[in-house]
C-alpha cells in the first residue's frame, strides 16, 4: 500500500480482555517496528521485526504482550488481560533499510482500557 496502515484506529476495551492490533506495512519494507506512546510522552520501543530473522522483543513490557509478523508483511500486536496502564497510542512503523531512510509511521491505534 501507499502507507503504513493500522487498525483499528481506536479501541476501547474492558480491563481483563484481550486485544489485537494490526499493522500493514508498506509493501517491500523489510523492517517493522512497534512503539507505544502514553499520553504526552515520548515513544517507547516495543518490538522489531527484520525479514525472517528472530524479532527483537526486548521492549515488550510484560509477558502479556506478544507480536507476530506473518509472511514478512502484516504484523499483529496482542495484549492479553489488558490493564488500565496499557492505555496508550500504539504506533507501527516500517522501513526499507534499518535506518537510512527513516521510518514511515502509521496513524496508530489509540487503546483505552476501562
Amino acid at each position: 500500500g501507499a502507507g503504513v496502515s493500522q487498525s483499528p484506529s481506536n479501541k476501547v476495551t474492558e480491563k481483563g480482555k484481550d486485544v489485537e492490533l494490526r499493522c500493514d506495512p508498506i509493501s517491500g519494507h523489510t523492517a517493522l517496528y512497534w512503539y507505544r506512546q502514553s499520553l504526552g510522552q515520548g515513544l517507547e520501543f516495543l518490538i522489531y521485526f527484520q525479514g525472517n530473522s528472530a524479532p527483537d522483543k526486548s521492549g515488550l513490557p510484560s509477558d502479556r504482550f506478544s507480536a507476530e509478523r506473518t509472511g514478512g508483511s502484516v504484523s499483529t500486536l496482542t495484549i492479553q488481560r489488558t490493564q488500565q496502564e496499557d492505555s496508550a497510542v500504539y504506533l507501527c512503523a516500517s522501513s526499507l533499510d534499518t535506518w537510512i531512510d527513516g521510518y514511515t509511521f502509521g496513524s496508530g491505534t489509540r487503546l483505552t482500557v476501562v
Binding site: 515520548g42 504506533l91 496513524s107
Partner: protein
Amino acid sequence: SQQGEEDPQALSIQEGENATMNCSYKTSINNLQWYRQNSGRGLVHLILIRSNEREKHSGRLRVTLDTSKKSSSLLITASRAADTASYFCAFPSGTYKYIFGTGTRLKVLA
C-alpha cells in the same frame, strides 16, 4: 534512561518567528533524525543528519549536530500556524532501532 532529552518541553511563538528546539543524547551515534507529530498520532520523518555532518537544511528546517556535546538542534524559520506540532529527535540504539526523545510541543500563534 536511554531516551533523549528535548528542550524546551513546550514552546509558544508568534507566526513568522523562528523556533529552536534542542535534543541531547548519551551514547555515540552515527546519525540522528527529527520527526514531527500532529495531534498525537503518526510521526512524519523530517530530516536525517549523519555524524560526519554538522549542519543540514531542508526548506525552512535547519538541523545541526554536535557530536562532541552529544546534542542536536532543529531550527524552523519563519514559522507558520501549520508548524504547530510535537517534534521528536530519534537516535539509533544498537544497529537497527531508534530511541526517541521526549519531544517539544510547539505552538505557533497566528
